[in-house]
Symmetry: C2
Subunit: 406 residues, 2 copies
C-alpha cells in the first residue's frame, strides 16, 4: 500500500484597511490607487462592479452620480455598469434573490478573478455581497466600503461573509479575506443615533476583552461619543478595528476551526435577542445587552469585581445602550422555551459546533472561558438588568449580594 | 487621519491523503481513526453525513448496506442518516437542486463545523458536495472518498470545489481544503475502460510538466496500464497525486490569485471540447486531446523536438486515448465561431482572469509559458492530429516539416 501523504498548504492573505474621507470625490486617489495597483497586464483596464446599499443611496442622494463621476474622471478604471442597488439591512441576507442578482451582474459584466466588486454599505450588505463575490469564479476581488460604525470597526475589517438560510442567521457563508477595506468617515455623519451608538458596543466589547487602556479611553470619552463628537468616533473606530485585526492575525485560528470564539463575548445572547426581536434590534444594540448580561452574570457569580461591573454598566448607560431589552424577558423564564433568551445558549453551541465555549470576564481585559452557564444565575442577572433599565440607574451594592433582595 | 493598517493573515491548511483498500469494511480502522481523531470534547460522538454518487451505488450494490454496517460496528461515530444518493457525473454540478439537497441534509441532521460530510464518488460529485459543505456554516469538515482514477490522482486531492452556473463550468465554487482524502483502490475495479484510461491523462500531463522519470515510467508501463494492471495503476495514481500535492503546497499560489495556472496544461482546449461535446467527452478524454493538441502545436512551432512529440503521442496511443475528437474539428475552422475549439482560447483567458497564460513544452518536464497562440499553427496541429487519429499511427517525419504536406 502506498504511504500516506500529509499535505501542508501555507497561505498568507494580505489586505490594507484604510481610513479616509470622501472616497468618491474625483480628486481622491485612494480608490484608483487601490484598484489599479495590481494590474495583471498593462494593456488591461481593471473592471469594476459597484454594489451599493439602498439605505446609503437614500442617505446620500448624490452618491450614485458621484460614483459614476469618479470613474469618468479615472479612465484607467472601467466601471462595468451603473452601481447596482441592493436592499440594506438584514433583509438582504434573508432573500436568496439578492445573491443571485449580484452573481448575475458579475456574470453579465464579465467580472473575473482579476476584476473587482466594490461593495458600499452596512454590515449586512457587505456580508451578502461578500458571499456572492467569494463564490463567483471561486472568488473575485472584493473591496469593502463599510458605511456604519459597526461595519467600519468590526465586521467589514474581518475575513467572513454570510447570508441567512433555513431561517438561520449566517447559515451560508465562507471565510474570504477582502482585497481591501476603505473606511470613509463621511458615511457615518448621517447615521441615526441608534446606529452611531450601537456600533460602539463592539468597541466596548473588544476593550473589555483585550485592552484596559482603551476601556479607560471609552469611559473618559463616552459622553463625547454620545454627543456625536467626530474626532472621538474616529479614534473609537480605528482602535476597535485595529484590535479586531490584531486578534484575527494573531489568534492562530483566523478561520475558526476550533470551538472557541474569543471575540464572541456577549454574543450567545445577542444572536438570540436579534432573532427574537425579528431584527427590530440592531446587532450592536443586541451586543450591548448581551455584554451587559454576561458581565452581570460574571459579577453575580463572583468572577467579576462589582466595581468593574459598575464601570461597565456606566459606560453602556452614558452611550444610551439598553442593558435590558424586552426580548430578554423576566427572571422567571423557562430555558427550554425557544422563546426564551436562555435557549440561545444551546443554539450558540450548535452554531459553534462542538463544545459550548463562552468568554467571561474576571476583570477589565481579563477574560476566561467557561463551558456552561448556570440558568438560575442567568435568570437573576436578567431580573437585575430589568431593574437597572427600569430604574434608570445601577442599583445599590446590596442587590449584588446573593443574600440580598434578588 | 488614521494610518493604514496592513493586515497579514497566515493560515496553514493540513490534511492527510491516504491510500487504502476496502475502506468501509467494518474491520478497517482508517475511517474511524480519521473521524474520531480530533474530537472537540470526549462526551461527544462525531456526527457524520454520507453523500454517495448514485453511479457508485449502481456499481457496488452492497455499498449502502456496507456503509451502514460500518457505522453500526463503530459506535464511537454517529451516522446521522442513511447515505444520501446524488446523481453522478457532470449533471450533478449543473442542477442547483443537488446543492440544496446537501444543504438541507446538513441542516436537518445538525451537521455543524465539527461534524463531517463524507462524500463518496467521482470528481463531479466531490466538487458539488464539496461546494455545499464549504458554504454551510462557513465550512463543515469534508472527507473526500474519490472513486475514479481522475479524482484519486487529481481533483479530489486538491483544494477546490465547484458547480456550474449560467451554463458555465465551475462558475460557482470556493477554495476549501478537505479535512482528509481517503483513496480506496477497490473502487477503481469496476470502472469502464474509458474512465480507467481517461484518468491517466492527468498523470501524463503532470509527468510532462514536472517529472521526466515518471514520464519514462508511464512509457514503460503504458501497455500494462491499458491491460488494467492494478499494481501499475496504484503507482500511477500515487505518483500523480503526489506531484499534484507538491505543486499545490509549493506553488506559492495555492488559491490561484495570479494569472498563471501551471497545471492547466492542455486545459484550454479540454474545457472547450468537453463543453462542445455536451459532456459526452469525459474530462480525462478531453485532457488527452488537449495535451495532444498543445504538444503538436509546440512541435510544429519548433519548441518541442519531434522525437519527444512522437514519444508523447505513442503513450497516448498505447493508453487508447484519442488525440483528435470530432469536437476538435478540422484545420479549416474559424476562431471567431463559438463552435470552434479555437474560441476556447479566449474563454480560457476570461476564466483565468487577466492575461492569457498557456503552458507549453520545450521538452519532457520542461514547460514554458506563452501568452498567445497562433491560430494558423493551431489549425495545422488540428489537421495533423485528425490525420494521426484517422490513420491510427503517427505520420512520417515529413509531416512535421513546415514545407511538407500540411
Amino acid at each position: 500500500m502506498n504511504p500516506t501523504i500529509m499535505q501542508v498548504v501555507p497561505v498568507t492573505f494580505t489586505y490594507p484597511v484604510h481610513f479616509t474621507e470622501h472616497l468618491f470625490d474625483p480628486q481622491h486617489s485612494l480608490l484608483d490607487d487601490t484598484l489599479s495597483g495590481n494590474r495583471p497586464a498593462s494593456d488591461q483596464v481593471p473592471r469594476v462592479l459597484c454594489v451599493v446599499d439602498d439605505g446609503v443611496l437614500a442617505a446620500f442622494p448624490g452618491l450614485e452620480a458621484q460614483i459614476q463621476a469618479y470613474f469618468a474622471a479615472h479612465p484607467d478604471l472601467c466601471l462595468v455598469a451603473p452601481p447596482l442597488a441592493v436592499p440594506g439591512g438584514e433583509r438582504c441576507k434573508s432573500d436568496p434573490k439578492q445573491v443571485e442578482r449580484v452573481h448575475e451582474a458579475i456574470n453579465t459584466h464579465g467580472v473575473d478573478r482579476h476584476a473587482y466588486v466594490v461593495a458600499v454599505g452596512g454590515g449586512a450588505v457587505l456580508d451578502m455581497v461578500g458571499y456572492a463575490a467569494a463564490t463567483a469564479h471561486r472568488g473575485v476581488r472584493l473591496v469593502r466600503v463599510p458605511t456604519t460604525v459597526l461595519s467600519q470597526n468590526d465586521s467589514a475589517v474581518g475575513v467572513k461573509n454570510s447570508v441567512n438560510a433555513f431561517g438561520k442567521k449566517n447559515w451560508l457563508g465562507t471565510f474570504a479575506p477582502p482585497y481591501a477595506v476603505l473606511n470613509d468617515r463621511a458615511f457615518l455623519t448621517t447615521l441615526e443615533d441608534r446606529d452611531w451608538l450601537g456600533g460602539l458596543s463592539e468597541a466596548l466589547k473588544v476593550a473589555l476583552l483585550k485592552d484596559a487602556a482603551f476601556f479607560g479611553w471609552l469611559e473618559t470619552n463616552a459622553a463625547a461619543l454620545a454627543a456625536r463628537d467626530r474626532e472621538a468616533m474616529d479614534y473609537a473606530v480605528y482602535r476597535c478595528a485595529q484590535l479586531h485585526l490584531e486578534h484575527i492575525a494573531g489568534s492562530g485560528d483566523p478561520f475558526e476551526r476550533g470551538s472557541s470564539r474569543p471575540l464572541d463575548f456577549g454574543h450567545w445572547a445577542a444572536h438570540k435577542l436579534e432573532s427574537l426581536s425579528g431584527y427590530r434590534l440592531r446587532h450592536g444594540e443586541a451586543v450591548a445587552a448581551g455584554v451587559a448580561l454576561d458581565c452581570t452574570y460574571a459579577a453575580l457569580s463572583g468572577l467579576l469585581p462589582e466595581t468593574e461591573w459598575r464601570r461597565i454598566l456606566a459606560v453602556l448607560r452614558t452611550l444610551r445602550l439598553a442593558v435590558h431589552v424586552p426580548e430578554m424577558g423576566s427572571g422567571a423564564q423557562d430555558a427550554q422555551d425557544p422563546g426564551s433568551v436562555l435557549s440561545g445558549l444551546n443554539e450558540f453551541r450548535e452554531h459553534l459546533g462542538g463544545r459550548l465555549t463562552i468568554p467571561l470576564l474576571t476583570g477589565i481585559a481579563s477574560p476566561i472561558e467557561v463551558h456552561e452557564m448556570d440558568h438560575d444565575l442567568l435568570r437573576r442577572a436578567i431580573a437585575l438588568l430589568d431593574d437597572v433599565q427600569a430604574q434608570g440607574h445601577v442599583p445599590s451594592p446590596a442587590l449584588l449580594d446573593p443574600q440580598g433582595a434578588l
